[in-house]
């Protein structure tokens, strides 16, 4: 046993999980090699010191709970506001719209009075009444077997792609211009990409198949689990329309995802829609 190999066994030796033969070989090595023995002793001391940290008191800020609650309240408020404009926002929008209409109509009449032309103001009115979209709208597409998410340009907006529910952000997309981003999954199992707005508002979820097909013919859990089962069984991507965490029961029998899947989400019959050979949607 050489020194680098011996170091690989330091942890297992300390845990007592090294098998008998290796343990004896390592102990023989310690007897022969004083430097390695000293290294192991330093290794043990380092871990002992590290473990001492658990006795070190850490004072928790007295306002921690208030800080968490305040951040959460803000998040919940902003999520609700961006999801559905309230009555006040609606009235405000209407009032601004009215002012804009009056201004535009006034301008049109002024132009008419000067030019004497017979042009219509309808297009101005149409633009004045247009409601701005408040959240980015992800569109999931497939091209040559590759799954991508597309966004129209929304200057000043960003979206985050997360590796799984509550997982790390793997990509932040700037929507100053229209964006198309290819999604990928290098693991053997299906995995989900969660797409959310920069403020954390949930937008949608896409499950991408892993490299290995697996049979998961029946099951119960969540909509996300059902999407993963379809993805694993047929080797296709599944776009989840709706809440991935809602309860779901499913059974799969056959080779065509559209006709083979029988599923219930929250007491409603779910349907699988084919978007392309490699991309399906469940709702």
């Amino acid at each position: 046993m050489n020194a680098p190999k011996a170091r690989e066994y330091f942890s297992a030796y300390r845990d007592g999980s090294l098998d008998k033969g290796l343990k004896q070989a390592l102990e023989r090595k310690f007897q022969e090699d004083g430097l390695l023995r000293a290294e192991y002793q330093a290794f043990e001391r380092a871990l002992k010191e590290l473990e001492g940290l658990k006795n070190q008191p850490i004072e928790v800020p007295i306002d921690l709970h208030e800080r968490i609650s305040a951040r959460l309240d803000k998040h919940v408020y902003e999520t609700k506001r961006s999801a559905k404009p309230g009555l006040v926002a609606w009235w405000r929008q209407l009032a601004y719209g009215g002012v804009a209409v009056v201004a535009i109509v006034g301008a049109v009449f002024a132009v008419k009075a000067v030019s004497g032309g017979g042009g219509s103001g309808a297009s101005f009115l149409g633009n004045g009444g247009k409601v701005q979209r408040v959240r980015p709208n992800p569109v999931i597409v497939e091209s040559a077997g590759k799954i991508s998410v597309k966004f129209d340009a929304m200057p000043g907006s960003k979206v985050n792609l997360r590796d799984g529910m509550g997982g790390p952000i793997v990509e932040t997309l700037d929507l100053d211009t229209a964006v198309e981003f290819e999604l990928s999954n290098s693991s053997s199992n299906p995995s989900e990409t969660v797409i959310e707005a920069a403020d954390g508002t949930y937008l949608t979820t896409v499950v991408l198949p892993g490299s290995v097909k697996q049979d998961v013919p029946t099951g119960n859990g969540t909509v996300l689990d059902c999407a993963k089962a379809i993805s694993a069984q047929f080797g296709v991507a599944v776009h989840i329309e709706g809440k991935p965490g809602d309860p779901a029961d499913w059974s799969i029998s056959g080779t065509n995802p559209v006709t083979s899947v029988t599923a219930k989400f929250q007491d409603k019959n779910a349907s699988v829609v084919k978007l392309s050979d490699k991309l399906y949607r469940i709702r």
Binding site: A46, K54, G166, K243, P244
Partner: protein, 198 residues
């Protein structure tokens, strides 16, 4: 502080039915442990508080999909670790360090990072110095290694729980932890006064 799984399970089910008071109880139950873990990773009270707040927002958003097959605390460690890694990723883009970090305690606002050990007994001073060295060494390790070492040796999570929290195979957790421990030893033996090689 220990909590039974069933207590968490009841609270989580109530949260999933839209009971916000239950979520508040869940925060109260776990915020202390969450903060201590975050603080051990960052050594910075402001960052630790931000990580904990971010983590509870993510938990709130994802709670509908939580299925109680693993312990809530394991899931919480996973989300806290991800929040910490995200924060460090953002920091790499704007590398600034605050020297003004303060925290509110029952006795008012105090500086946390650069605390003076004061005129205590020699033993206390030496213990404090050793803890500082260990904390400094931890701070020099890659973030992932730091998180694993703190989870195992300070938070006392098992290899299995770490594997679940970090979504890694058990063997990978063991080999990465061994590398992390060797790296920690490397950093600590440089301080010969505190870690004399026998």
């Amino acid at each position: 502080m220990s909590h039974s799984l069933s207590d968490d399970g009841v609270l989580i089910r109530r949260c999933q039915q839209g009971d916000r008071t239950a979520f508040d109880d869940l925060i109260r139950r776990h915020e202390r442990r969450a903060y201590q873990y975050a603080f051990r990773l960052t050594s910075n009270p402001e960052e630790a508080s931000d990580i904990v707040a971010d983590a509870f927002i993510r938990i709130y958003n994802a709670l509908q999909s939580f299925r109680s097959q693993s312990a809530f605390t394991t899931w919480m460690y996973r989300i806290l670790t991800n929040c910490y890694l995200d924060l460090k990723k953002k920091e790499r883009n704007r590398p600034t360090v605050s020297l003004e970090s303060t925290m509110q305690t029952a006795s008012g606002e105090v500086e946390r990072q650069f605390e003076d050990p004061g005129e205590g007994p020699d033993v206390e001073v030496e213990r404090f110095a050793r803890e500082e060295k260990v904390q400094d060494a931890l701070g020099q390790l890659p973030e992932y290694q730091r998180a694993m070492l703190v989870m195992y040796h300070v938070e006392m999570l098992s290899y299995e729980q770490i594997a679940e929290a970090l979504d890694l195979p058990l063997g990978t957790v063991k080999s990465r932890l061994n590398r992390a421990r060797l790296s920690l030893r490397e950093l600590l033996v440089r301080d010969e006064e505190l870690f004399v090689i026998e």
